[in-house]
Symmetry: C2
Subunit: 236 residues, 2 copies
């Protein structure tokens, strides 16, 4: 158990297009169209706390897995990464799976800009971010700037995770072509999210309809043999 | 305040050559000679929890600042990074300074190898690491593998922190040449640590003797105008 009386608790919360866990990219940066905000809470919404942040293009977010119970100590110490087909087990520390001893997540996101607004006569700050892999409402514990010389070793190796995941083509059913909600930004978010194929690797059912909740829409799709086909946009 | 009854608490502790805060490199990876161990505690010392970790050359450690009281909410939200001369203030989130709202640190270290030993008839695991920037005894909350495609964006910018810090030459006084403790590994640790010049930027006193505690030795040195001169190795 972690009990830090000297800690501040969450310094802010994430607003993201991902309303549920299913479909969220399995690493940050895979879907640049996944934009949203970090909204700090008082007193961390004071621009003074962020002065100089614009010098950095990317930020590390250290955040709290709030939507799943973490692994209990003494329970299974292994996970089955989707990248290995979902059957092969590895140690929990050889993976970034969300079920882990302490509910702490790590994401590298792009800082798109700093926005200021007035609340109660005071100037407050909000950060626009992209490349999110975070569910809407995620509590953020810390933000640290990305420092290329320290964070990007030239000689790294990562076995089965060295290369980005493969992408599947994403096609939209003809009926969706004129859908009023489907602007370029939303289309990019759907394509970038679904091309990663969030369906379990052990499902081979090309006739099963899946749904992923994006920007408040239930995006319905099929995982065909050679592509992802988006067939519906439904308000849940 | 952070109170996670569902969390495991520290999963292990760091053994490092840095016995005090002064002199610790200000980012991980700057001193490859800074080697040590992560020693997981039960039940996380079970090799099952680490299965597959050898595929990764680098690991993220998420750890707890245990040697300083963190910033209190409502207190100063700014810090003065040494890289900016120690006088210019930036927001706490635009820096990785240790005084921050939540006492959580982030370090990228190289995995030198996995070691196994027997305890009570069971096989247990210990990780040899290098590039440490952690004080001896630091509690570790989580370990996540370094994933190059997600953690190393091609187009990053980092203003005043884009380039590694400058290094000063390190020379050893003639009296130290035959010192029995000064083998190649210890010499490399001293050179890599002191070349980063841990003395405060606002000190310009070339005649002041400093001491840094490394591997249980008090390493005495002067910060001359053009070099760091190591003059003594004393058992404290």
């Amino acid at each position: 158990m972690l009990n830090w009386p000297e800690a501040a608790g969450p310094i802010g919360y994430i607003h993201s297009p991902f309303d549920e866990l299913f479909g969220i990219p399995r690493q940050s940066g895979l879907a640049a169209a996944a934009q949203g905000y970090l909204e700090p809470i008082a007193p961390w919404d004071d621009p003074a706390a962020w002065q100089g942040i614009e010098a950095f293009s990317h930020l590390w977010l250290i955040w709290q897995f709030h939507a799943k119970a973490p692994m209990q100590a003494g329970k299974s110490k292994q996970v089955r990464p989707p990248r290995l087909g979902g059957n092969q087990r590895v140690g929990v520390f050889a993976s970034r799976a969300p079920i882990r001893p302490n509910p702490i997540g790590l994401s590298l996101v792009r800082l798109e800009g700093v926005q200021y607004h007035q609340t109660g006569g005071a100037k407050r700050v909000k950060l626009k971010l992209s490349g999110l892999d975070l569910r809407d409402g995620t509590p953020v514990l810390d933000v640290k700037p990305y420092i290329p010389y320290a964070d990007c070793p030239a000689d790294s190796e990562a076995g089965w995770a060295a290369q980005p995941p493969e992408r599947m083509p994403v096609v939209f059913a003809a009926a969706l072509e004129q859908h009023p909600a489907l602007d370029e930004a939303f289309k990019a978010l759907i394509v970038q999210t679904l091309s990663l194929n969030p369906t379990p690797a052990y499902h081979q059912d090309t006739e099963r309809r899946y749904g992923v909740c994006l920007q408040g829409w239930d995006v319905q799709f099929y995982c065909r043999a050679d592509c992802i086909e988006v067939t519906g946009l439904v308000q849940p």
